[in-house]
Symmetry: none
Subunit: 156 residues, 2 copies
């Protein structure tokens, strides 16, 4: 069996039990599995990427760490994913505001959250010298990220 797979399994077991979040020491883990520390980065990059539903954050230096958070979950969060999938790579401001209204109407976002989303995607917020295509791409990404944050709020 590949070491990468073992490490992946190890981390997923830790994530499975109690919390959707695990913190580890790169060097310790590497030593435990008898591999190069950078192997851990490889596993993170290939098995715990954002597109696979994980976020990682880390810190270097003395007392450094790597934290892995699972963001894909069950229940209402699937709805968020559906919505997210309906947002492509491009998003107009009108469409964005429509989706936000829908999120609010369906109770997935409260008025405060909707207000912030609306502001972040307004023409005013994106008043920078960029092509319309780039702005549309930005809107899509920003809204997706905010919806993910919404979905994740439940059991962070």
């Amino acid at each position: 069996m590949r070491i990468s797979d073992s490490i992946e399994q190890f981390i997923k077991d830790m994530l499975g039990e109690d919390s959707p979040e695990v913190e580890l020491k790169r060097n310790e883990l590497a030593e435990y599995f008898g591999c190069a520390p950078s192997q851990i980065n490889y596993v993170l990059a290939t098995r715990f990427s954002p597109s696979q539903g994980y976020l990682t954050e880390s810190r270097r230096g003395g007392g450094g760490y790597i934290r892995i958070v699972r963001v894909v979950e069950t229940g209402p969060q699937k709805m968020a994913y559906l919505v997210r999938d309906r947002i492509g790579d491009q998003l107009s401001e009108e469409e964005a505001q429509r989706i936000i209204a829908h999120l609010k109407d369906s109770g997935m976002a409260n008025p405060e959250e909707a207000g912030m989303m609306s502001a972040a995607l307004s023409a005013r917020a994106l008043a920078v010298p960029l092509s319309p295509e780039m702005k549309a791409a930005l809107r899509a990404r920003i809204l997706k990220t905010m919806i993910l944050a919404l979905a994740n709020k439940g059991n962070g």
Copy 2:
């Protein structure tokens, strides 16, 4: 656990309780934590900087001291300050998250709003092919717009 973090926590606990101000002896604190005195300066520089909402003043020589003050400003003033002075044309993600944390801590934004802001300005939301400068410019504009929305909510 890092000594820096312990010292940070220690000071924040002192600040948290009663007063927004605490006075301490650098050498005593260093001895208490068993570290070099200059470590205290490091903690002050990295965790209690003005941009993080703290001011420090000190005195050398016999009977010297270090005083740390948590700066408190009222909502509207603070927001105006943030938009006008502190957020320029460029904004790093770290700085953005710090500002958002401050807004939340001081009650100017509730956790939901802060969450949305944080998401909208995350590296993930801006993961598009743009120069770092352009991203920094976008962050600045988006955050300003969201803060304006916050401010407007209250009195309008």
